[in-house]
Symmetry: C2
């Protein structure tokens, strides 16, 4: 048998399995042995396709990290009021996390325990972050200059945004474990929280 009943190739299956496990437990706690077992193949095959666990991880991680930052690092030059732009950015970011709820934990875990990952990502992203920062900074200054918002740095706004959006998902295991919210309620609550977060952030701009 060359792969599981002529479905996707083992290479793809391994990739998907690894992705799920890395998201679940992080790099260190996931073994190639376990990946192979879950993918239904021999452990050596994992190394045949990806050579090292590190390379396998990188093939997944960069994509995931870019996904996380995609909403934040998109320049919105549409002709709508600043607050509307910001609202959209928050919601888009939230939606990405909702579709990838384990992403925040993976990034946080890896960036915290392995500073090298951050350096790599920084290189891959190039000048984009700086450019986005500058555009946003200009907008903020302009709004503040016209008295429509209080003065505020891009970084502080970003931190507030990411804080509120991210913790809703980081806290999931705890909310579960404490039995403070049921499975179905959680999904409704998420939508509520998205509105809540935009409300809080937009409100925090007031003079």
């Amino acid at each position: 048998m060359t792969n599981q009943a002529a479905g996707p190739s083992f290479e793809q299956t391994i990739l998907k399995t690894a992705e799920a496990l890395f998201l679940e437990k992080g790099y260190a706690l996931t073994s190639t042995t376990e990946i192979a077992k879950n993918a239904g193949c021999n452990q050596a095959l994992v190394h045949y396709y990806f050579r090292t666990k590190e390379k396998l991880f990188e093939a997944i991680f960069e994509k995931k990290a870019k996904l996380f930052f995609s909403a934040l690092l998109k320049i919105d030059d549409s002709d709508i009021p600043f607050r509307e732009k910001l609202k959209r950015k928050i919601e888009t970011h939230f939606d990405i996390l909702k579709a990838n709820p384990k992403l925040p934990f993976l990034l946080l875990n890896e960036f915290t325990t392995n500073p090298g990952r951050l350096r790599t990502l920084k290189e891959k992203l190039g000048e984009l972050p700086v450019q986005v920062f500058e555009v946003l900074d200009k907008e903020l200054q302009q709004e503040a200059g016209q008295g429509r918002i209080r003065p505020l740095s891009v970084m502080d706004l970003a931190i507030t945004m990411v804080s509120l959006n991210v913790v809703v998902f980081l806290a999931r295991p705890m909310l579960d474990g404490l039995g403070v919210i049921t499975e179905e309620d959680y999904n409704h609550w998420l939508e509520f929280r998205k509105r809540e977060n935009t409300r809080i952030i937009l409100g925090s701009l007031n003079l």
Copy 2:
């Protein structure tokens, strides 16, 4: 030599060393071998005093978890306005984190990767969380009833609070790695962020 020049006992040194390492890298990434090396003793001694790595960890973790929640789970029955009470709670919580900046990562990491920890803690805390919740809920309802704040659940308020307070510290390695803030600036920024967070949260109560 019975211990390092008649200073603190090896038992204490091991405990402190383990604490630092667990906070730095979490349970899984810290080995008893490394703890011993950093403590300046033989690896077997770690097991002599604590028998297993798990028990050593537990001796540290429970204390740390309670510390994190201490500000949140304190009932404030002083005779001051609600907003002032809330402000104090936020600031106290923030100050605890400032004094223990790696606490959030440890808790998050352990609760996420090991659900058992949460169950254990839940038992240890007993009825306290429920009681605090009820008191706070009553206060919130009363304030809302009198039109001083918008209606809001305890859980949502807590999530907002913890989100803003915690991410400032969780994000530290990233801010460092990206070179977006210098060592000394960071400390000033923290104090700014404490004010910022209370401002945002109190502001979010407005109708």
